[in-house]
Structure formats: C-alpha cells, structure tokens
C-alpha cells in the first residue's frame, strides 16, 4: 500500500505546451509532470524545463493575465487558481494570447 505522500508524488498530468513556449520544452508539444495542484505542476515544469515558470507567472507568483491554464478544459481562474487540485491523468492546457495575423 502506498501512503498518501507517495501517491501524491506520483500524480502525473499531461501538460499541453503552446507553440510560443515550446522552445523551453525542446519542441515537445506535450510533457508529463507531477504535482497535486496546478502550483506544484508549475514548479515541476520549472524543474524540468527551466525558464518556463517565468513565462507563466509574474514576480508575485501569480499566473500572468495574458496566459490561461485549463484543467480538462476548465479555466483555473474560475476554480482555485494555482491551488486547483489535479489528479492522475488530468490534462492541463496552457493557452496564451496570440498576436499574429
């Protein structure tokens, strides 16, 4: 039997990385990270792909207002922001404002 801490550490989510941020993930459009909340997911992203957190969060650690993060299609701003829980197999999508045309 795994204890809670062990199970939490194994929470694995898929993160969809938009084109403008793929230079941080060596071009990967989807990466797998661990964490039990979006905040933890962001930390693990930074650990694995240094520089990514600064693109997602401001100096105060809040998600930047021109980037949204969705858990299974729902905006975390309308859930619990970085405290939003995630569970094994969830899909996290990073969606930035895009300017070209």
């Amino acid at each position: 039997m795994m204890d809670l801490a062990e199970r939490t550490a194994r929470m694995t989510v898929r993160v969809c990385v938009p084109t403008p941020l793929r230079r941080f993930t060596a071009g990967a459009e989807e990466v797998t990270v661990n964490g039990e909340t979006i905040g933890r997911v962001v930390e693990d992203l930074e650990l694995k792909f240094p520089g990514l957190k600064e693109r997602l969060c401001d100096e105060g650690g809040r998600v930047r207002r021109f980037i949204n993060i969705y858990v299974n299609g729902d905006d975390i701003r309308f859930l619990s922001n970085l405290e939003t829980p995630v569970k094994d197999g969830d899909e996290v999508a990073i969606v930035p404002a895009i300017g070209g045309g």
């Binding site: 969809c16 403008p20 459009e29 021109f66 969705y70 999508a93 969606v95 895009i98 070209g100 045309g101």
Partner: protein
C-alpha cells in the same frame, strides 16, 4: 453599389435559398486588417455574396506579405493594401460593394466605422490591435470574430458583446511589449493563417444567416504541427474590465505596438 438579386443568380444559388442570398446581399461585414487572416476571409465573403465589405488597413503591400496575404500580387508592391484589396474584390466579384478605410485603426475612427457594420472580422496582426478591436466591438455593440496565429498554431473565438465572453474575459490585460512573440520572431505559416481566416469568414456567414451554433464562450485552438484541435470553455467574467459588472474601461483607449511585416 449593390446589384439586383437577379443579376447574381447562378453565382450564389448553390446551397442556399433566395432568403439567405438576400440576407447576405444586405449584410455589411468589416474586415480590420487585410493580411494573413483578412485576405482569405475577404475573398471568401465576397465570393459568398456578401453585399458590402469594409476594409481597414493602413499598410502598403510588402514583399514579406505575399506568402500569406493572398489577395495581393507582386505588381501590387508598395501600393496601399485597402485600395488594392478593394480593387481585386470588385474586379473578381462586381456585385460586392467595398468601402475602404486606408487608415490605421484608432479609438477615434473606430467609433465612426464599427457601428456601420453588422459583423467584424479581426484580421489584425498585433496583440495591441486585437485588444483595440475587442474593446471597440464590445463598446459599440458589434459582434465580431477574434483570431490570432503564430507559426502552425492558431486560435479563434466569436464575441457577441455583453452576451458572451469577450477577449478581455479571457485575457484581461494585454501582455507587455516583447512577451508575445511577434510575427518576425514566430513566423506565420500562410496556410495556417488562411485556415483560421476562413474559419472567421465561416463564422461571419453563420451569424448573418442566423444558422448553426456560433463559437461563443469557447476558444477554438488549432495546432497544425501535431494535428490537434481543442476548444476550451469560457464564460463571461463578472470581473472583466470591459464587460464585467464594474468595468473600468468605459471608452476605447489608444495602444501602441509594432507592426508585422
């Protein structure tokens, strides 16, 4: 000048009935930015039988535009886009009436132009301009289609002012300069921009014809690199600075940013 319906019979009668054709003929659609998104959208809307198209573009045709802005040709280099595009549309589709605005979209001219149209296609190529179009469309109460593209990645949504989420409900404030890769940095794939521009044209036609389900309260995201598309759910944000319960944007403000070549 709109041409009587009997003269355009044959060109537009495939697939839609007389009532729909008449609706299209009476429609006024504004395209802001006749570039990678706006060029294919304009051609498609004109070919579909839309009676009046408005074109807003300040730029002249440059060589770096031609890979994606398919309404222009090499001999058009250096000529004003709004004039060239109007000419091309009216030559190809004599029934369409084109109103060109050879000026940069601004808070002042937007208030004059937007209310005269039924639907707006945001074909701008700068993030600041996209906020300007959003703010103007919401404050003027004109439905519009937003889109943004970067490389093989594009996204679009439809906004019915004060009835569905606007771009600021999604992203409340514009990113600072340099935070969003410019066209020069990210590059634009012409076929991707064209695909999204055509989706915008499709949405304009659906709105005018009052058919189907509009792309409201959803953002459609297309990643052509890996053939993946998704729609994320949106809802009007009660804290939206533009259309929320206590808005702090009550008039359209000016924004400055760099152009895309």
């Amino acid at each position: 000048m709109a041409v009587p319906i009997d003269k355009i019979r044959g060109r537009f009668e495939r697939g839609i009935g007389p009532e729909e054709r008449e609706r299209l003929r009476r429609a006024r659609i504004l395209i802001v930015g006749v570039g990678g998104l706006g060029s294919p959208a304009a051609l498609q809307l004109a070919s579909a039988g839309v009676g009046t198209l408005g074109l807003v573009d300040f730029d002249a045709v440059e060589i770096s535009n031609l890979h994606r802005q398919i309404i222009y040709r090499t001999p058009d280099l250096g000529r004003p886009k709004a004039a060239v595009a109007a000419e091309r549309l009216m030559t190809t589709y004599p029934e369409v009436s084109v109103e060109s605005f050879q000026e940069r979209l601004s808070p002042a001219n937007l208030l004059q132009i937007f209310p005269r149209f039924d639907f707006i296609i945001d074909g701008t190529d700068r993030i600041a301009a996209k906020y300007l179009v959003n703010d103007g469309a919401v404050l003027c109460g004109v439905p519009y289609s937003h889109a943004g593209v970067s490389g093989f990645y594009g996204q679009t949504m439809t906004v019915l002012p004060r009835r569905s989420a606007c771009f600021r409900c999604l992203f409340p404030v514009p990113p600072p300069e340099g935070e969003v890769p410019s066209c020069q940095e990210a590059g634009i794939i012409g076929a991707l921009a064209g695909s999204i521009g055509l989706l915008q044209a499709l949405e304009a036609l659906k709105y005018i014809l009052r058919i189907g389900t509009l792309l409201t309260n959803r953002l459609f995201i297309f990643d052509a690199w890996v053939w993946q598309w998704r729609t994320v759910q949106l809802s009007p944000d009660r804290q939206c600075p533009l259309c929320g319960e206590q808005p702090n944007i009550r008039q359209v403000a000016s924004i400055e940013n760099e152009d895309c070549g």
